[in-house]
Amino acid sequence: MIERSHHDMGGLPAGKVERNGIDETHDYSLWERRVDAMAVLLQGIKPGTRRLVTVDERRRAIEMLPPQAYDAMSYYERWVISLAETLIQRGILTSEELARKMVEVEGRARR
């Protein structure tokens, strides 16, 4: 039996918290902003948009990640994985469509 899921870390020893300087802010890259925007649109948070996925489905997908993958991925990497996983489960995307698009984008980057 799995008593404590890997993501459920509250209360575990974590070492020292490193604080950023007062003027430092998180600097998001363009892809991270896009992932955030996609999540907002798909979750129907913006008025007039339809809810195609729920935050709970996305959380579940993140919680199902193997511990090693969970630790190795950045915040928005986990988000994009959860969006893809949920869209496939919902039948909005197929794995094949995603696979073909990934090959296409990878080819574009190699050129």
């Binding site: 039996m1 799995i2 008593e3 404590r4 899921s5 459920d8 509250g10 209360g11 729920t54 709970d56 489905e57 959380r59 579940r60 919680e63 489960q89 919902r90």
Partner: protein, 95 residues
């Protein structure tokens, strides 16, 4: 929407259970006794939403206040310190 079963100030015990699925009750608070700080309203059950079901009818959600020294056996801070956790009604039992 279901009427809230617990009132502000009432003592409740968090279910000490470890089911599968998407659970919003943190591991560290399961089995602890606290008191109702407020009724937050009623919301669709996230455990059901996570499985692509409606989660309806909405379930009452409470903010529950726990004494830190009741949560962490080796807590060395001020005895009056508390931690508040938002917990759905089906995770709570009357003490």
């Amino acid at each position: 929407m279901l009427a809230a079963k617990y009132k502000v100030g009432e003592k409740v015990k968090v279910l000490k259970a470890y089911p599968l699925g998407h659970i919003r009750t943190p591991y560290y608070i399961r089995g602890c006794v606290g008191e109702i700080e407020r009724v937050c309203g009623a919301f669709a059950n996230p455990e059901e939403l996570a499985q692509m079901r409606s989660g309806l009818p909405p379930l009452p959600l409470y903010r529950v206040r726990f004494r830190q020294k009741d949560v962490w056996p080796d807590y060395s801070g001020n005895g009056a310190d508390v931690v508040e956790v938002e917990i759905f009604e089906h995770w709570l039992d009357r003490v």
